[in-house]
Amino acid sequence: MNIKEYIESGILEAYVLGSLSQEEQERVAADIARYPELAEEIAAIEDTMWLMAQAGAEEPPAELKGKIWAQVDNTIPGKISMPVSPKTIPLTRQLSWQRAAVWIALTGSVLVNFILWSQRNNTQEAQVAVKAQLDTMQHQLAALQTSTQKQAEMLADSGMKTVVMQSMLPGHPMAATVYWNKTNGDAYLAMQKLPMPDKGKQYQMWVIQDGKPVSMGVIDNHLLKTPTVSKLPMEVKNGQAFAISLEKEGGNPTPTEVYVLGKIS
């Protein structure tokens, strides 16, 4: 078994979350017992889940403790742990040589089968891991392709206005583009060169209408990581300019620091 591929497949995370089928859950448990590297990885995942749970901790009301104790105290279970007495079957008869031969043949066959089976399993696991990787890559590629295609289409669309927003901070080459369909009010945003904001900060999108900035929503930071075209969540029927400013997380009623601005010609 290729431990690295096994880990990369993500099955251990699913195991800790308990989202595998009963059968798979047991298989993974057996694998963990066999390979210390897997056990180590599991421990790291468990720690993460614990920290995540801790981050979401919420104090229950004070009176609940007494209520639960009363409940728990009443249900002291009888010890169910019965000693398991394995049945022993005494070997009374001597094995004849035929019997021995059958046993040897059978054991051999089981062994060979087991070896073949585990080899097949290994190949299958490797295949699954590679396929999953391919899936992710394919997905990313498709997203990129649609994004590019969309921008090309919008550029070609004569009903679509292209408003390039330029940097308002000298020395910082930043830019973003709004594609705006004046007829139906649809607007799309493509961010080309905007730096990732500091922690606790977010970009906010504005349209300037009658000289006043109107918020069009804050931009989630993860959008900056991949080249996407985003549909803006507001119909824009008129306006003189589009702008993006840097604000505190969650946005502000009026822009504080405008980064890029583009006049609608």
């Binding site: 979350l17 749970a53 229950p60």
Partner: protein, 182 residues
């Protein structure tokens, strides 16, 4: 405050097996808030959430002999018991699909959107609860963790291949790991 008493995993298990009030106090003091937090992620109604926490504690208490250290940490075991109690309650009330319960629907919507190129920027609802996870990744973790979806169900609900669900799950937890390391 006897909060200075900390036990190792093994000690805690032994302590719980004695079923003393001291053991209960320790358990409650150290785990009740975390477990309640988990219940509340799944069940919005406070009264129901308290009932579920109670059920979970009784289950932990009664089944401590069945805990197998080979299969994972004691807290993972307790979290899973609590999660399952919450999910059972949710499903028994037929509420899982209504999903007015904090995250569910919103997550599914967000992932739907994030998988398309046309993304809505009005994402104030995506406050970072557990770190800077992209919604596509977060949805998978949350569906599995708080809604008790199996990988198959996640794959079908979000309409993404099973292999991708797994690798994204791994990626998401990796990011969380780094996040918590800071």
């Amino acid at each position: 405050m006897p909060a200075t008493n900390t036990y190792s995993e093994e000690e805690l298990v032994l302590l719980l097996q004695q079923r003393s009030e001291a053991a209960f106090n320790y358990l409650y003091q150290n785990y009740a808030a975390v477990l309640y937090g988990i219940v509340r992620k799944t069940i919005f109604d406070e009264q129901t959430a308290q009932d579920v926490l109670q059920e979970a504690f009784v289950k932990i208490w009664n089944n401590i002999d069945k805990y197998d250290p080979q299969k994972g940490r004691i807290y993972t075991w307790m979290i899973n018991i609590t999660r399952n109690a919450a999910i059972d309650k949710l499903r028994s009330k037929g509420e899982v699909m209504k999903s007015k319960i904090r995250t569910g629907e919103e997550i599914v919507n967000n992932i739907g959107q994030s998988l398309k190129t046309e993304q809505v920027t009005d994402t104030i609802g995506l406050r970072q609860v557990v770190g800077g996870l992209e919604p596509g990744y977060k949805a998978i973790v949350e569906l599995a963790y708080f809604k008790g979806f199996t990988l198959d169900e996640i794959s079908k609900t979000l309409d993404i291949p099973l292999g991708t669900v797994k690798t994204r799950m791994r990626h998401a937890i990796k990011l969380l790991r780094e996040h918590f390391k800071q």
